[in-house]
Symmetry: C2
Subunit: 120 residues, 2 copies
């Protein structure tokens, strides 16, 4: 399986507190946020991201869920198609890794204005 | 209109590259990501966040969309209920502001591992 191209353009986007998103930027980003807007996919992403060596196969993931293999595979596909993870086949298994550039872009867009966060 | 309490617990969550999210954490966060997983809501959020003075009323927002007032109000309600914005009535209008703590938490969860992002 080849690497997925990132969905979110490398130039996208300034923090939304700095300037409004254009319609195409919002459409692109919303698609990726929607992919993480599901509790199973968010847990899958966190299990892959925090796994030893930064990669995990389905065999590492299924134990954490009361879901069938095909359901987990479906969610992994959505994450891949959103550019959040990549998959590489080695032998029997596909090994998944997070795409750090996509995480970084989402994280940057949501960065609040400096000094705006009140800490306890 | 009173301020909304944040949906995402102030303690939530470590970056997902550091440790897996628990089921309740993932459910909580997924709800907020789902709220920004819509192009109209994402643009509304960015218009409010980047507006002069950090606040905007519906009167400032409707011009940017080919949508009816009630549709925009519905999306604003979803953003409010997710703890992403607060609304305060002053005279005729409700003025919306982003909740920087919620943005900061989402942004922190998505922070990639240090040194993992390849820049061009």
């Amino acid at each position: 399986m080849s690497k997925q191209l990132p969905i979110v353009d490398a130039e996208c986007c300034s923090p939304l507190v700095r300037e409004p998103l254009s319609e195409p930027q919002a459409a692109e980003l919303a698609r990726v946020f929607k992919a993480v807007g599901d509790p199973v996919r968010l847990r899958l992403l966190s299990l892959i991201a925090s796994h030893d060596g930064g990669e995990a196969c389905v065999c590492d993931l299924t134990g954490a869920f009361e879901l069938t293999g095909p359901t987990i595979s479906h969610h992994l596909k959505v994450l891949r198609e959103s550019g959040l993870i990549t998959g590489e086949r080695r032998g029997t298994w596909i090994y998944y890794r997070v795409q750090p550039e996509t995480l970084a872009r989402l994280s940057a867009v949501l960065t609040p204005a400096e000094g705006s966060v009140v800490t306890a």
